[in-house]
Amino acid sequence: MGVNNRITIFDIINYTLFALFTLACFFPFYYLFINTISSNDLSSRGLVMFYPQEIHFNNYIEVFKIPGLGQATFVSFARTVIGTLLTVAASGFLGYLFSKPTMWGRKFWYRFLIATMYFNAGLIPWFLIMLKLGLFNNFLAYVVPGIVSPFFIILVKTFVESTPISLQESAQLDGAGNMTIFWKIVMPLITPILATIAIFTAIGQWNSFQDTLFLVTDSNLFTLQFILYRYFNGATSLATLMQSGASDTNLANIQTATSIRTTISMVVVIPILLVYPFFQRFFVKGIMIGAVKG
């Protein structure tokens, strides 16, 4: 929208500020990464600041020798995959059902669902009910409570309603039942919105931390996020972990508190970085439709 092509003082300041903020956003990722691939000795003394030194990739092998870390990675992946599948399927199906004006008590049940966005019983009542439902130290606590998400259902319902109803009607006249119509007619139409939901659910599942904190004491169900938190919190003795990783004879690269923390952080962030370029195009869609009905 420039009036002419002169570079003004405004442009210089503008570019500089954006460059600085972008750097501030990106630098922490870079800083942790160069520390995981540099000499552990230098890194733990804080000497790796701007570029990697004495590059090695041992940490990424050693870190999985820590007892429980492989399991935690598995749990994190499992909850992400299973939780996302369940939420996407339920959001698609319920969005379709609620788009049907013929449903018995539709208005009431829809409000029954949407109202839950606006109240919250509070931590302790929620915790005690989860306990009563047998969801303490139970993998289902990761995936079941999130199955029905009012917000996603609004998205799908709005989307289904924007597609031509004649498609569904003609299938109905051909004798197709609701399930057939959903699978054969509606599903292909709503794929774009389901993809958006899948991405946001998957990121949420991967990043989830509170449910483990409140509902899990069994170390077999710990997630990567939770383990990472414990290493910063000092709740787990890093010293014993370092002992177990000390089989490596290269003393400069013996596992240190810093190397364990940075490497697990990278293990947590790398899957997100890997899928990030692919889901960027869903951003605007995801956020825009969300704004239609806050």
Partner: protein, 318 residues
């Protein structure tokens, strides 16, 4: 769907019967999910009765003393508790107010990003500034620890190498500027993401408006002020209203991961306080009482915000 309707043989009666059956089939298909909603959203409300008992974990509620409104009245009658709650409310209000003040930053970000002429630079800025939105607060804390730790953190090493400080600063374990630093982490994480909505809104502004203004001799800043800003005001207003509705819901995770013994008095917002009282100190009754009050106040705020929205733009936000 038993009613198979073949060819042209369907009558009005058959259609009616089909409709009648379908009505309930659709409901029955939704029922299992509605049960889940009941279990995870409505059933916990039953747990509000714990606020009226002196409940301790492990002892059944039937053998627990009924204390009536004791937990509620202790909020005002017990000076120690009142002082504590006031401190928590102060933290909550301060951090929320700073959050609302900084909600104008994504607007500025979007407007000024539009002035960047190089498409590749713009793309890089957008890609990298949105990234922090997709990492967990645990990971943000991991970054904070590596960068600002007193013990060989990046910033301390940098400042010491440059000779600006002699002893490392303990930024993370300090209660100076806790409100501000929490707000800044929020900005770091959310600014790029928050701007996307405004960028989309700006893209949606009719280019003819810019043309017309330019013909009238408007410069860059006049275009921003008289065309872009009015164009994105409705979006900003909706988000502001939602921000007001969520004024006492700061969330939990950010404050939990950043909290430590040194900064607890400044970082303890309502959600963290409920956790500390209930889970850490096992005072389930009082924690539930605080949750109930918080739920009621946030509902009132939501309806107030909704009415305000109806008044100003003739349309609610819920």
């Amino acid at each position: 769907m038993g009613a198979k309707l073949n060819g042209q043989a369907y009558t009005t009666a058959a259609v009616k019967q089909f409709r009648f059956k379908e009505k309930y089939t659709l409901f029955l298909m939704a029922l299992p999910f509605l049960v889940l909603v009941f279990l995870f959203a409505y059933l916990p409300l039953y747990g509000w009765i714990y606020a009226f008992y002196d409940y301790r974990p492990g002892i059944p509620l039937s053998q627990t003393e009924f204390v009536g409104l004791q937990w509620f009245t202790s909020l005002v009658s017990n000076p120690y508790q009142m002082e504590e709650v006031l401190r928590v409310l102060r933290n909550t209000f301060a951090i929320s107010t700073l959050g609302i003040l900084t909600s104008v930053l994504p607007v500025i970000f979007a407007i000024f990003l539009m002035e960047i002429k190089s498409p590749s630079f713009k793309k890089i800025v957008q890609t990298l500034t949105t990234l922090p939105n997709f990492i967990s607060w645990v990971l943000v804390y991991s970054f904070a620890f590596m960068l600002f730790s007193v013990d060989n953190g990046f910033l301390n090493n940098l400042l010491m190498n440059m000779g600006l400080i002699e002893r490392p600063l303990n930024i993370l374990a300090s209660d100076n500027h806790t409100w501000l630093s929490m707000t800044l982490w929020g900005v770091w994480k959310g600014l790029g993401w928050g701007a996307i909505l405004y960028i989309a809104a700006i893209t949606g502004i009719d280019p003819e408006l810019y043309e017309a203004a330019r013909v009238d001799g408007a410069g860059r800043f006049r275009l921003m002020w008289h065309v872009t800003v009015p164009g994105i005001m409705p979006t900003f207003f909706v988000l502001l209203i939602l921000g007001i509705a969520g004024f006492i819901n700061n969330g939990f995770e950010q404050y939990f991961v950043f909290s430590n013994a040194m900064n607890m008095s400044k970082i303890e917002v309502l959600d963290l306080y409920v956790y500390n009282v209930g889970v850490v100190n096992n005072n389930f009754g009082f924690a539930t009482a605080v949750s109930i009050l918080k739920s009621i106040v946030s509902l009132i705020l939501l309806f107030a915000a909704n009415s305000l929205s109806k008044l100003v733009r003739g349309e609610g936000v819920i």
